[in-house]
């Protein structure tokens, strides 16, 4: 279980990295944390001809709010998000996800942006990014490109990121007043992918939900944005249990999980329903300033 040979490039600027990507002629892979790519290379499920290591490029480690947007640079590790006070105080869904993503050691190396670029429907960050309405900033030969997180994944392990582009930063809108969010994941043990996971974000004004967004992890070939379920909540009271139930049902309907060792389809669908309700309750409490 060892990787095959490849050429290793360690650029010190994005320009150099982009040149290496062109030189790699479609057979080069970008590596930041490498916590998904290297395991695939060890199993020889991936054998890129060139590895372009971003770790030597300065300025890709931003994790801060700037002008109403949270900026997350390409080299920000999961563990930095987990330990960030800013994230803990203002982006609870991200903190929830960070605590249940892979394991603590992988979190010290793997990156938020790398997880998105990997395009795995089991990736927790893809759901978080989509649910929070993130922008995905890349650079290519023609300069900067911005993708939307909601439809970023195009198929399993494929994204809108061009083969000549490098994902450099993700930007997430800062929370609005009355916003609450939560991420709930069922895993068989630490380090497992989700049997199902649900991220929810709601904005509450005077006890009424004015905005909602729901994302589902690993219950379909892509990260699922449960738009109908979210829409059904708008205008409802934050204490409306029937509305939560209905949102759970709608989220369940849009999920399309497949049976595997984590459980049969019908189990995963029901998990979506249950987790959606529970996540809504937590997000609701948080929106009202009560930690749940």
């Amino acid at each position: 279980m060892l990787p095959s040979t490849f050429e290793y490039v360690a650029p010190t600027s994005l320009d150099e990295a982009l040149q290496a990507l062109v030189a790699g002629a479609g057979d080069a892979k970008i590596m930041s944390g490498g916590q998904s790519l290297l395991p695939m290379m060890k199993l020889r499920l991936a054998s890129p001809g060139t590895i372009i290591d971003l770790n030597g490029i300065a300025g890709l480690d931003t994790l801060e709010e700037v002008d109403g947007m949270l900026h997350i640079g390409a080299l920000v590790r999961h563990g930095e998000i987990e330990r960030s006070e800013l994230i803990r105080d203002r982006y609870p869904m991200m903190r929830d996800a960070s605590l249940h993503l892979a394991d603590p050691l992988i979190r010290n190396r793997g990156t938020f942006c790398g997880s998105l670029a990997h395009g795995d429907p089991a990736g927790d960050w893809a759901t978080v990014a989509a649910t929070l309405g993130a922008e995905i900033h890349a650079v290519g030969p023609d300069g900067a490109v911005v993708h939307s997180a909601i439809d970023f994944q195009t198929s399993m392990f494929e994204t809108q990121l061009g083969s000549d582009q490098i994902l450099v930063e993700v930007r997430i809108p800062a929370p609005k007043p009355g916003q609450g969010s939560a991420y709930l994941k069922i895993e068989r043990k630490v380090g497992d992918y989700a049997a199902a996971a649900v991220g929810v974000m709601i904005v509450v004004d005077g006890g009424t939900i004015t905005e909602a967004s729901i994302g589902l992890t690993n219950v379909g070939p892509l990260t699922i944005h449960a738009a109908d379920a979210a829409a059904s909540l708008v205008g409802k009271s934050i204490d409306d249990a029937a509305a939560f139930e209905e949102a759970g049902r709608l989220a369940m309907e849009i999920s399309e999980p497949s049976s595997d060792l984590r459980g049969p389809e019908e189990y995963k669908r029901d998990l979506v329903r249950v987790l959606t309700k529970r996540a809504l309750r937590t997000a609701g409490a948080r929106a009202q300033g009560k930690e749940a």
Binding site: M1, L2, S4, T5, R44, D103, I186, R188, K189, V190, G191, D192, A195, L261, R262, G263, P264, Y267, D270, L271, V274, L275, K277, R278
Partner: protein, 788 residues
């Protein structure tokens, strides 16, 4: 048994000194097989079959041979010339070393590549071209017995089916009679699924052949280095005096490192042929897919009882899935191990069991994973049946057990399937456990919770073990009596070395066996160095598994120390000019009775043994060796109680509390005993909750890496509440019984019983392991239970 005297010597039995071996482990200075790096060493990798059953038409290694660094590719045909293409298994079958005619399970060894680096060896696997014709695959052992099933072992002359053996024990007629009289018969059809010991260190070997001396040294992940040397000598035709097996530090074994694997054999043959050291260390995937699995017992059990809960008889019918080769590790005369211990802790009138072994297209094995030879499956079956009887009769599960326990005055107790239990006090252990868990309060809480629709369960296991194999009259492996040995030499300065035939894989022998000497001779345990694992430097033994080290090697250590204590007594008498019988011995000092000022320390006696002034008929020196053949097995026991809460929404099972009261007889080092119990309980938890090796209908293996084969982390693992009970073994020299496997044998059924107890109101009488959330969820939803 001579009761262990209370000794004040440093490290005597009953004390918990810190472990001697830790000094190297905490510095990263352990020495495991993969740490062995020899000059000129080559690396081996194994090309394995992607198919579960297929004819091999041809094997082409030419591309691989042309790749950088590749020294050799070895195929089954190459081994035929040396008579090594097949090897005998511990169960009297044969196993392909490298496949010649066909492959019989996914992951089977087909070609070995030897290269200069491990990376080059791995690269070359992609240059192996094998042409296969896939054959129909059998993964279901029931299907294996169908008349039209394809024959997996077509290599065996005259073999026309997939049946391996039928083994029966007990009295079928007497059992029928008690069943005919019974008011109630509880039936249980259950699978103890295929799991894997998965020690953190995988298996491996470094074979180092010295052309000049003709000596073959094999650094091997071995729980039984002496037995392995003998088997290597038999299989490979190597002279045994030219074979040295060094089992250095072993990173966990749990039974996985008892068998001999094809990789060991080929690495050894390659070193012999090439004349250089060859290292093979398997990957985790190889470990999980191809080396000794455990369990895979399809069990149908029946328990007969009166309506007021008097248990009368047990019947068990088992289909044992042994995979493609019968390579299970059991004593030769016991094709289903000690499964007939299945009457457990209960005084039944009659019992009968029948076990059929079959071949399937799965990895071979059936090893005793932290278990004495199928006692785990046996304990599971009876304890599950008893809890179901409690549900059926409405009698409290603890009370029902107490009513049916073998009573203390019945020991030695002859079980209906023929075992003679040495000792026990089952109710005592049960009462301690009930007290620790707060049983009455828990049942009240459960009733209240049920009224509110919450799901909580309490499960029991009052297991009886059979360990210490043991007893050459019934136990051998490949004809070798299951004895064990100890050789003790005390140097003139009173410090010495103890050499053992058993081999630690983490049990702490370097500490506990020194403690036995400390106890017997009064020499501080820190003055005794313990050596093991090197066949050139230790006396013969059958190794460490089945909790046998303390019952056999520990007994040998006590006896050899006692022999030397008697010699010391003679020397002391000589020096003090008194009769030996006039001396008292306590904590390392001989004192003349009634004259406390006249005394000699053990160290003075030892020094005397190397001086000129000795009694005329006494040999000089202070050393001896003992080979111990146990008169009987030992029978540790205990009661475990598990409390679970179930999330109705997700089906997740949370173990709230787990109480384990073990009685393993005398405890040498209570700290280490507790550590063994913690570890075994966690393995039992893994078995019950998440571990599984499964297959699809094409024989593709699921559970071949740690992403699919789930072993618990610190987050899932429960906390354990331990209690203690001590009933010394009457026949062991210091009353010990062995403890390593009790928690893995005893605990899985406690988890399952707790979950079944929680779900019983919904009509459930069984859920097979692992207790995955989705299975629990299905029970709840089928019963109309929703999440709120």
């Amino acid at each position: 048994m001579t009761a262990a005297t209370e000794s004040t010597v440093n490290g005597a039995i009953g004390q918990s000194p810190k472990r001697v071996e830790d000094d190297r482990f905490i510095r990263g200075m352990g020495n495991y097989v993969d740490d062995v790096q020899l000059p000129g060493m080559l690396h081996m990798a194994i090309y394995r079959s992607p198919f579960a059953h297929a004819t091999i038409n041809s094997i082409d290694t030419s591309r691989a041979l042309a790749m950088p660094g590749v020294v050799a590719c070895i195929t089954g045909q190459d081994l035929v010339a040396h008579g090594l293409a097949w090897m005998p298994t511990l169960a009297g079958d044969t196993q392909a070393v490298l496949a010649t005619d066909k492959v019989r399970f996914q992951g089977q060894e087909v070609v070995c590549v030897i290269a200069k680096t491990s990376y080059q060896a791995e690269d070359a696997l992609e240059g192996i071209d094998v042409d296969y014709d896939p054959l129909p695959v059998i993964v279901d052992p029931k299907r294996a017995l169908d008349a039209d099933a394809p024959i997996i072992r077509s290599d065996l002359e005259g073999k026309t089916d997939n049946h391996i053996f039928t083994w029966e024990s007990g009295d079928a007629e007497a059992t029928d009679r008690v069943f005919a009289e019974a008011d109630i018969v509880i039936k249980l059809d259950t699978l103890y699924p295929r799991i894997h010991p998965a020690p953190m260190e995988t298996c491996g070997a470094v074979a180092d052949y010295n052309k000049a001396t003709g000596k073959m040294t094999i650094h091997l992940t071995s729980q039984a280095p002496h037995a392995h040397r003998t088997l290597f000598a038999m299989v490979a035709g190597l002279p045994e005096q030219k074979l040295r097996i060094i089992s250095p530090d072993v990173g966990g074994g749990f039974g996985n490192k008892v068998p001999i694997y094809p990789g060991y054999v080929v690495a050894t043959a390659a070193s012999l042929l090439i004349g250089k050291p060859v290292k093979w260390v398997e990957s985790r995937t190889e470990n999980l897919m191809s080396t000794g699995f455990a369990r895979d017992y399809h069990m149908e059990g029946e328990l007969a009882a009166t309506k007021d809960g008097k248990m009368l008889g047990l019947r068990a019918n088992v289909l044992a899935d042994h995979g493609a080769f019968n390579a299970q590790a059991q004593p030769s005369k016991w094709p289903a191990g000690f499964f007939n211990i299945a009457t457990g802790s209960y005084d039944l009138q009659a019992a009968h069991c029948k076990v059929d072994g079959v071949y399937t297209n799965k990895a071979p094995g059936g090893i005793a994973y932290r278990c004495s030879f199928r006692v785990t499956e046996a304990a599971y079956l009876i304890e599950r049946l008893v809890d179901n009887l409690a549900h059926e009769t409405g009698i409290d599960a603890a009370e029902l057990r107490k009513q049916n326990f073998i009573q203390p005055e019945q020991f030695p107790y002859k079980s209906p399937m023929g075992w003679e239990y040495d000792s026990g006090d089952y109710e005592k252990a049960m009462n301690i456990a009930l007290e620790l868990v707060g049983y009455e309060e828990l049942r009240k809480e459960q009733a209240e919770k049920r009224a509110k629709g919450e799901v909580m369960g309490i499960g029991f296991s009052s297991f009886t073990e059979i360990v210490g194999a043991g007893m050459s009259k019934i136990c051998d492996i490949a004809g070798l009596a299951m004895i064990d040995s100890a050789e003790l030499r005390i140097h003139p300065t009173g410090k010495g070395v103890l050499k053992l035939g058993v081999q630690s894989q983490g049990q702490g022998h370097e500490t506990t066996f020194a403690q036995i000497v400390a106890n017997e001779l009064g020499i501080p345990y820190t003055d005794i160095a313990v050596e093991h694992g090197d066949t050139d430097h230790t006396p013969y033994g059958l190794g460490t598994y089945a909790s046998r080290s303390t019952p056999t090697g520990g007994a040998a250590t006590a006896i050899v120390a006692r022999k030397l204590r008697e010699k010391a007594r003679q020397i002391a008498a000589h020096l003090l000019e008194c009769a030996p019988d006039d001396l008292e011995f306590d904590s390392g000092t001989f004192t003349v009775k009634g004259s406390p000022e006249k005394s000699k320390t053990i160290q003075e006696c030892v020094f005397g043994a190397y001086q000129s002034d000795l009694p005329d008929d006494m040999e000089k020196g202070f050393e001896d060796v003992t080979y111990y053949d146990a008169p009987e097995m030992t029978y540790p026991f205990g009661t475990y109680i598990c409390v679970v809460d179930i999330d109705k929404g997700t089906g997740q099972v949370k173990v709230r509390k787990f109480v384990a009261v073990d009685d393993c007889g005398t405890r040498i080092n209570p700290m280490i005993v507790d550590g063994q119990i913690h570890g075994g309980l966690t393995q039992g938890f893994g078995t019950a909750m998440m571990e599984l090796i499964s297959f699809d209908e094409d024989g593709n293996c699921f559970g071949g890496n740690f992403m699919d084969y789930l072993i618990p982390t610190a987050v899932e693992s429960p906390d354990w509440t331990l209690g203690e009970c001590t009933t010394p073994s009457p026949h062991h020299p210091f009353g010990a019984k062995g403890v390593g496997e009790s928690p893995t044998v005893g605990s899985p059924q406690a988890f399952v019983n707790a979950v079944v107890d929680a779900l019983h109101p919904y009509g459930i009488t069984n859920i097979d392991m692992p207790l995955s959330s989705h299975k629990v969820w299905k029970v709840l939803r089928d019963a109309g239970v929703t999440d709120e």
